[in-house]
Symmetry: D2
Subunit: 250 residues, 4 copies
């Protein structure tokens, strides 16, 4: 009912305009969509804080609620001072839940004491769906191969810029991940895509992955169908720390 008078008036104008314009004019209401209503959520106080629809994967205290080690057993990494730190030799840790598309917020810190160089310094990684690594590395004044540095999709896409903070400083990854869809033969119908903001700076812009992360070889050659899967954090032997990890399923 509410559009009635406006509509009649505008349509009158529209019809009069037909001779000039060829197409009859539309009215604004014709391109308004009211349903379904967009879900309302409460954002965090700052963009780093978990919004109301996020799953908090690590709150700084309890790592075992949402994570296990690679065998499904308890996490062997150390929790202290509101963060969890890689324990050399304890192996990866991974979420208990499996995910498809998501937005992931994760903060990390490479050791304040600088040890090693290139891939040997402050190396860890965030594996999306257990297969696709966003590299974590101390690249502050530490050159390595461009497709293996912090913010890279390891050995597939170098970051657009090196936005690293120094060793010992907390850094942020905001990751938007779209899982692959598959053809029946197990190849990608659409590849995984990843957007990464590193310390608020865009380093991956909807980058398409060619296949699983491969340390040796060609990613295209090892594509295999998979479903929802876990997030893993890598033990690369360096005491990298993580905190404030939350995820929103998309």
């Amino acid at each position: 009912m509410k559009f009635k008078i406006l509509t009649v008036a505008l349509l009158f104008v529209a019809v009069c305009a037909v001779a000039q314009d060829e197409r009859p004019q539309m009215v604004p209401e014709m391109t308004e969509i009211w349903d379904p209503e967009v879900p309302v959520i409460t954002p965090g106080e700052t963009p780093a804080d978990a919004p109301s629809d996020a799953i908090v994967l690590f709150d700084g205290v309890d790592i075992d609620r949402e994570w296990t080690n690679g065998d499904g057993g308890p996490v062997g990494w150390k929790v202290a001072d509101g963060c969890v730190t890689v324990e050399r030799g304890a192996g990866i840790i991974q979420t208990k839940r499996a995910f498809e598309d998501f937005q992931l917020h994760i903060e990390w810190r490479s050791p304040a004491e600088v040890v090693g160089e290139s891939q040997g310094r402050g190396n860890s990684g965030v594996f999306l769906q257990k297969r696709y690594e966003v590299q974590v590395l101390d690249n502050y004044n530490n050159r390595t191969y461009r497709n293996g540095q912090a913010g890279s999709l390891y050995k597939q896409h170098a970051p657009l810029v090196n936005a690293c903070k120094g060793p010992g400083e907390w850094q942020v990854y905001d990751i938007i991940y779209t899982a692959p869809r598959f053809n029946e033969d197990g190849t990608y119908f659409t590849p995984p895509t990843v957007t990464v903001l590193h310390n608020g700076v865009l380093v991956q812009n909807n980058s398409k992955l060619r296949g699983p992360t491969e340390y040796i070889g060609i990613p295209e050659y090892s594509v295999e169908k998979h479903g929802a899967d876990v997030i893993q954090l890598q033990d690369h032997g360096n005491p990298v720390s993580y905190r404030n990890i939350w995820i929103r399923e998309l």
Copy 2:
């Protein structure tokens, strides 16, 4: 030289493996890319702070350095308390510089005093390349059409969620924009795409625009070739405020 010994060793293994595997094995160095070196920048202290490679469009004090009104004259909006506020009737303001692809950080606040409803409450907008609006609206407890609410690409894509803060609170848009590329006949070869984080929450995920924002009519029908263009902020008659605006060209 540095890879020599490792390579010889690994290739020996590789060659021995040929009979089983059909394909000779690669070595890790075959998929390392060192050049060109990724540019180093300094991120802001927090993700909201401008990184070293950003153009600061508004620092809270001087609006006339980077902005004009719609006629190229001085900005008629009020600057006070570190923000600039829409002056009803003064019309849009726009950047002096033109942009192609970019990452844009902008903070906005709808009036603390709630006036009006639906599109009439705290309405403004960020126009990318002068044509593509990311809607600014006070949608806190204020329903409107889904494709016209805060975080929508106006009348084209509703936001994934409503992540609004309340009236009078500062809110953040982090926008990643890829400009269209054109065919010779003026149609899109690739459409504009927009990713938006609203208060840190993903509300547009590489959404493809169908054409320029149209209040009336069908966006596809008004696509026209254009090049780099300005950012505009809309005067929709409501005293919406903006602050901390920076942009990184991609």
Copy 3:
């Protein structure tokens, strides 16, 4: 075994080249993929003839084997002289089988006797998955709206060129169709895409559909999740004929 000698030789060269090149050289076999073997089919004698892996939907004789009318009953169109012709008022006909992605070959002929103009002349249509129309129309010396002419994706994409033959002449559509994939909320994850060759001439090049074909309104607004579905041929009241229809599932 067979690569062994070549590989050793080439790798020797590769290793010697390391100092100059940074990356060790690969050998050709590293990028050969042998498995799985590509399926072998027998093409038709000419490209118009059905290949061995096609389903022949109409061979010029028996229309009832693969087609029904809109109610699942027998086809009310006339079969004669190796073709089937629209019977005004009999309504659409559709395949018994449902399809996802496919390559479709179909030949059509508008009446030799020219009657009507614009959309009123030789009008029919091929509906992909019951929803997406490739327009069939006698556009030979007969102008109509560009997004509704022969070879258009009706009201969404005009053909690149008008490649029509005259009334009474047989014409060919070769259509490559990729079905949409859906998000959980029923929107497109990827839209339907269509490539059309009209008489051997490209008229649609992987065009993305915005939604179902709509005579009135905006296609985006009526997108709904669907699975495999039938091919329909339209009864638009004009005696358009069809012959030599085959389809290959992709």
Copy 4:
């Protein structure tokens, strides 16, 4: 003027419908686009025949009008019986004209006398923009690596099926090619895409190339900015013949 009466009538209905529907109804004319008129061309008598807007690259008689050898000199291949045949050692031949996006029709025949196996039998190739090879090979009862067989985008995409005819028989490639667009740094903004029909059968469906064709190594690593470029036919030492070559610029 012509829509006036219909429009008034329909809009009356539309306005009456508002209370139920929320959105006022549109009328059919609102989604008709008349301008610009679609260019009219004359298709070939059969889809294999050049349409009126094609450039005939080889008509069976004169190879030197549109082709040169690799040095810009006269073509060293033999023309006889309406076709041109690779002359071993004469090297590639290439078009005088450079192309961007196009539709290419080309017919080829591997030698009736079978010699060699795998890549050694009836090997040649069509290089799009001098860089991207659609493999030509006698794969009739001749296995080779899947990503190197006839209809493959060499070492990047295996054909969907093996649609080869036998040695000595004429075969057809219909190729739809979209050239890459580049970022300023020389990487692909959009990759080259290729659709191929082999003897009327779809073997490549808008396949995305990863980079130039590489016999050895990883295509991504040798991407470089380029503009319009020539079509080349490869001399791989086997007397493969070509005929009826035409191209339409898109």
